[in-house]
Every structure is written in structure tokens, then in C-alpha cells.
Amino acid sequence: MDINITKEDFDLTKEIEIFNQGSLDHGAISIFIGKVRPEKNLQSMHIDCYPEMAQKKIKSITEIARSKWTLDNIRIVHRYGSLKPNDNIVLVIIGSSHRSDSMSANEFIMDYLKSSAPFWKKEIYSDKEIWIEQKESDLRKLYQWEKLSL
């Protein structure tokens, strides 16, 4: 398992190479890439981060995912700093013997990354700056997962 909290961009090909070094014994690989959505007039997105806590938190999220599904290796990259529209923000790669395990775990990890890992997004427009607020709908996804585990 590998978690990379970084200002640097990632290259999918290289990330997959590193991922495959960890294991080749998976029949299923699910990948999710989150990017800065090119909203109208958006100049850039600033992502603030608490790196030490992010590392711990993401590790704990992946451990919970491993307890729920049968997973091989996991690779997560989350960027912070100043990003432009269409820039990469986050990458989650999950190998498993079973496609539904790799896909469900990917969705689970993304849902928790979004609302419980210490990152904060600010949208920067020419005339204003807006800290994005946590969405009720994102929190509801966490409740759904917690309901499922009861």
C-alpha cells in the first residue's frame, strides 16, 4: 500500500507501473482520477492540506476498506497546492481478484477521502475566492456506508 500526499502532478502510466511492481496477481484494477473541473471563469484551485494527518487518515481509510473487501494493492495520490482547471487532484488505484471488490472499495475510499481526509479546496476567480463548503450529499454517502456496516 502506498499513499502519496504531494504538490507534484502524477503521471498515470508511471503510477500504474509502480502499482504493478507491488503485485500482478489481480484480475481486476479499478482506477479513479479526480481533476479540477473547468468551471466558468475559474482561474485556479488552491488545495490546503494537513499532510501528517492526511497520511494517517488515508491509511486508516484503506485499512477499513481492506477489512470490508478482498483487495490486493492500493495506491493513492492526493495533490495539494495551486492547481489549474483540468489538473489532476487525486488518484486511487485498487487491485483485487474480483471486480466488484475493487470498484466498491474505490468508491468507499473516494467518499471518505472527500469528507474525512484533511484537505480543503478554494476556488479562485478573477474577482473572488471561495472556500468550498462540505456538501450534505457527500456526508450522506458516509452515513450510507456506515449504515451498510451495521
Partner: protein
């Protein structure tokens, strides 16, 4: 005590982190927030919307009643919006 601030809280306080001597009678995060708000208008403004602020002690999310000590790293931040 090491204090860290993130997102708009860091912007209001205009610092990302600082080390402060905290009176020994301050035992919980909630008391710390009240104390900081009492000594300076900037903290008061930053911590105004208390419901929108989350706390971590040594990189672990906690609630207002969490006990804190001198050696701790305390972080203040709004709800997370990463991913």
C-alpha cells in the same frame, strides 16, 4: 503547545501555525478555543462559527471535550472538502 490552522481559519488568524504558552487550567479543546477567543479579537473572529470548526489532537479528529496537554499538536480547521 503547538497550534495549527487550516483553510479560512488560517486566513483569518493569518498564521498557519504557532507555539503558545497556555495556562495550565485549560484542560480541553473547548476551553482552549474560549481562552484564545478571550485574548485576541482575531481568534474570536476565527472561532466565531464554532459549529463549522473541527479539531484534531496529534492528527486525530476529536471533539471539544478532548483533554489536551502541553506536548500536543492541536489543529483547527473547517469540514474537509478534498477528493
Amino acid at each position: 503547545m503547538k497550534l495549527k490552522y487550516f483553510a479560512w481559519i488560517a486566513e483569518i488568524i493569518d498564521k498557519r501555525e504557532e507555539s503558545l504558552e497556555i495556562p495550565s487550567e485549560i484542560e480541553t479543546i473547548g476551553q482552549l478555543v474560549n481562552y484564545l477567543s478571550s485574548i485576541d479579537e482575531t481568534y474570536k473572529k476565527a472561532f466565531e462559527k464554532r459549529k463549522n470548526i473541527k479539531f484534531a489532537v496529534n492528527q486525530v479528529l476529536v471533539n471539544e471535550n478532548e483533554l489536551i496537554s502541553k506536548a500536543d499538536e492541536i489543529a483547527f480547521f473547517p469540514p474537509m472538502t478534498g477528493g
